[in-house]
Amino acid sequence: MEEERESLYEEMGCFDPNTPAEVTVESSFSQAEQPPPPPQVLVAGSTSNSNCSVEVEELSEFHLSPQDCPQASSTPLQFHINPPPPPCDQFHNNLIHQMASHQQHSSWENGYQDFVNLGPNSATTPDLLSLLHLPRCSLPPNHHPSSMLPNSSISFSDIMSSSSAAAVMYDPLFHLNFPMQPRDQNQLRNGSCLLGVEDQIQMDANGGVNVMYFEGANNNNNNGGFENEILEFNNGVTRKGRGSRKSRTFPTERERRVHFNDRFFDLKNLIPNPTKNDRASIVGEAIDYIKELLRTIEEFKMLVEKKRCGRFRSKKRARVGEVGGEDQEEEEDTVNYKPQSEVDQSCFNKNNNNSLRCSWLKRKSKVTEVDVRIIDDEVTIKLVQKKKINCLLFTTKVLDQLQLDLHHVAGGQIGEHYSFLFNTKICEGSCVYASGIADTLMEVVEKQYMEAVPTNGY
């Protein structure tokens, strides 16, 4: 075990392998009067080890005195360490990956060693931080870890990748379910510890990872008493505010709320055609808008690609044509097609290998709705407008203008609205794009509607 640990230290390279440190720990621990609690140890960091088997012998010296924890039931004192790699879920893999350690269990043990090495002697800030991390995550051993993960583990991994290396270093410790050590607690209840707390909170803000566990800890009634300890530890700083962090200097909660509401308003202003004013709808429409923008970007990229290829092709042809003389245009083209074919082929293939151009967007107003979908060169347009004007007439004019070849049209009056569906094809050489079509159509139809005299447009 010793050699294993030392080799792990080397891997981590974050602290000196200190055999004396172990001794220190042992001695401090040995002062614990009560015998170690039932031999179950829990490392909360293992996200799926709540049901894992236990191996105690190595760890007997690490048992902390239960009396330091307000709970006699010693739930937080229990440690599970699972030497064989546990069945890991994605989160854990990311974690380990980030830590760049080679073995899964090694990171826990490393972190654990980290903790262990913190004695009264240790004064390095990072270690302090890691120590301070620990009490915040107090999970009951039965708490199923996966339920603490957010719905999208994808975003979680984003967070992981975006957090600083320093922040990540602390993460494995975060999961260790350590209560406060008696000795260290006394020492740390000074300015230094507050500092640590502040940083911790800052790190919370930056890393983002820990927040989940923080909130998870919030919800555990088991550890209510334990959390009180933390509160004291924080020296009376409110938990809700997550410490005395002031983001953007809000002296009052009210200002914070006002600022938050303003954000929604800003978001609403970015969205074209916002319908409702309530927060949920604004967010919903923002999501749709983001998707639409992404689609539009894809579409444009593809169009630009096509244009480039097309231009390249015609460039070649032009050059050849000049050489051959103009009367012989067609023949020259066909004759000279072969040498060009390689170039054409590559462009052609590229376009063919890519997926078909497709894009979709919607434009909505109080009286009109336009839905445009493009797949390759076919455009499907749906138009719904409140019955007032002859919108079909204007639509057909717009379609002619856009050089869209009508293949099918269907629709009519439905209740108070006109509803039409157009299947069209883009004429070759025409460069229209979804938002262009939608905007033009919307504009024309809306304008006509607004300008119409309140009688029948007929």
Partner: protein
Amino acid sequence: MGGGSRFQEPVRMSRRKQVTKQKEEDENFKSPNLEAERRRREKLHGRLMALRSHVPIVTNMTKASIVEDAITYIGELQNNVKNLLETFHEMEEAPPETDEEQTDQIIKPEVETSDLKEEMKKLGIEENVQLCKTGEMKFWLKIITEKKAGIFSKFMEVMRFLGFEIIDISLTTSSGAILICSSVQIHQELCDVEETKDFLLEVMRSNP
């Protein structure tokens, strides 16, 4: 205090009593919208999470920063779109190379239409107009004609001219022919159905 003002007693009620009475009232008073409010909050929360999953920028994990990051991201995307659009337009107003393409283009449609005409003849599709009365002021109209550019807008113009309001319409194209079926509502009595039919056919055949 508000509740107390109705009675004379509260003036004599001790401060402590008032406070506890209020507390009691608050406890007994549960929002009738409790469930609705909860659902509303959950809905907003769910949507915020969804928003976050779409936005690659993550600074903080607070609700406020989700919205802020979304705002930044949308701004970025809009810029991208703008730039791409500009690039696209620049490419369009392009150099003489495109002339070759255009000449090709002009050639093509003509070739196509003559082909289409032949196809239509081959399949025995004939030009046709039918106009039948289906109600008091309602007619049913069917037109088969050769497909040409801009023919549908021509049709719509004629409809407007004749004062026919379209109730529903269906247009299909196949093998160089176009078929239009429509139910129309009229507002003025039709003088002569036959005349109208001929008129329609003539208009649809005509070249712009």
